[in-house]
Amino acid sequence: MIAASAAANPFIVDADQVFVLLRDWLVGFLPAALRPAAGAVLGVIAIVCVFPGLFALTTVFERKGLGRMQNRLGPNRVGPFGFFQPIADGIKSLTKEDIVPLRANAVVHFLAPLVLVATVFMGFAVLPMGRNMVLVDMDAGLLFFFAMGAATELSIFMAGWSSRNKYSLLGAMRAVAQMISYEVVLLLSSVSVVMISGSLSLSKIVAAQDQYSGVFPHWYIFTPWGLAGFLVFAIAATAETNRSPFDLPEGESELVAGYHIEYSGFKFALFFLGEYLAMFSISGLGTTLFLGGWSAPFSFLAWVPSWIWFFGKVMLFIFVFIWMRGTLPRLRQDQLMNFAWKFVLPFTLLNLVVTALWRFMGPGWSRWIVCSLILLAAYVVMGRLEMRSDHFGRRSYRYAE
């Protein structure tokens, strides 16, 4: 399909590969020995420029969108419709005084935002953002992504602990407990994709989904196990990025701002950046694993450049994040933990078994019925058992009486 349209129209190939061609053209000015390194540097520069730019755009869209949901205007003073607000915010955070608390642990306090932003940026290295557009095509790309995600937890703890503030420490402990709980789910829901595609390489996972039956794509979300896995993945991703309704670590009404309460000026901006970059990278991973990465949603749309599909899907994720933030109330800590360990985790484990069943039942319509029925039955039974109303009785306090 792709090859046919590509042969027919070279312009489409150029539009699809414009960034790859641009990189090759720029690198072509250098001697051959330096070309691989220069290509990698250009890729890094592209990532470091594109995603913070997307972050600036997203902040203004988020504030506009939340304003719309809350029946107000949102930012509307800087530039047309307030769209230059991020520039004003950037200048403001750069010129603000950098305050470090007197009793704070200065070195760790300084390192925490740097570690966060550096590790989050590393995750983008393995995401295929278009056809042939992946910085490092690693054999174990998915594992690399999760390894980098695990390292961000420590930076949040470093921030919370080094500030020497009870709210920041409480926020950090909440954040780490929540991230550890949901990371298990995140990993296990991705394992089912690995089981079907048989590879940990993200570009191979996308290539496995870039096929069509008629006009419909072979995305993993369009299978019973894929849909269940995607929903679980989306829940865990929301919790992992500390977004509403899982924003307990920075719950403004109880912890003021959580682990970054003692950060000001540019260090605070780095935390802000790190959180949004984590949102982009986890959305990119969800897109890659379940929504076919850069592949088009219908075969007759394959002429649209692949990177437009990738970034479009990521922005769709971001829109849902903003929508949920404007809609849902915050969970309570015990609800969060019960939900993770008693409902989401068993369901994910069951989904692994269902995925194996799907794999070994072979093609045919019978596996659609069997897998869907098992997942639906488990959802209903576990929902009835675990979420019965008598679980929500009087709250029992363990330490706070």
Partner: protein
């Protein structure tokens, strides 16, 4: 031995030394994390992707967090007045040196036992996975059983408190 190896070795050793020499326990935990990261990078430098990423995922993502939690939950982040160094540190040094000597001897003796290969051995993630569920499936299952027992044990320890209502 390239320059990168020596750089990584220095980082790892400095992290390890800082772990035992620093006074503040949380600093020690963070220094241990540096040592873990250095080890992971050493694995990656040897082209062992799976071992390197698993090292980061397990040691930085789980073990370091666990250590930090243990320190905070046991009020260990406050410094004791009479120092944090054990009085039997000399004995510890001897034991550590002994363990290091045995490991070093085993590695050096192993070099001559294994036939010399011309091509560097390659172990892709796929190879490791197939070995784990193929030839080594029994040890894997035994480890799984052990971990399940440990989990149940942890739950039992945690539940003990609830048996006596206040």
């Amino acid at each position: 031995m390239s320059a990168i190896f020596y750089l990584l070795a220095v980082i790892t050793l400095a992290g390890g030394l800082a772990t035992v020499l620093l006074k503040q326990l949380v600093h020690c935990a963070l220094a241990a994390t540096v040592a873990f990261a250095g080890l992971a990078l050493l694995f990656l430098q040897l082209d062992a992707q799976f071992a390197g990423f698993a090292q980061i995922l397990v040691y930085i993502g789980a073990v370091a967090i666990l250590i930090v939690f243990a320190i905070l939950l046991t009020h260990g982040s406050h410094m004791p007045k009479d120092g944090v160094f054990s009085r039997s540190w000399a004995l510890g040094l001897v034991i550590a040196a002994g363990v290091f000597a045995i490991l070093g001897w085993a590695v050096l003796a192993g070099i001559s036992a294994v036939p010399r290969q011309n091509a560097p051995p390659s172990a892709t993630v796929r190879d490791i996975g197939e070995a784990l569920v193929g030839r080594y499936v029994l040890p894997l299952e035994i480890v799984a059983l052990l971990l399940t027992a440990a989990t149940i044990g942890a739950v039992v320890v945690a539940m003990h408190e609830k048996a006596s209502p206040r």
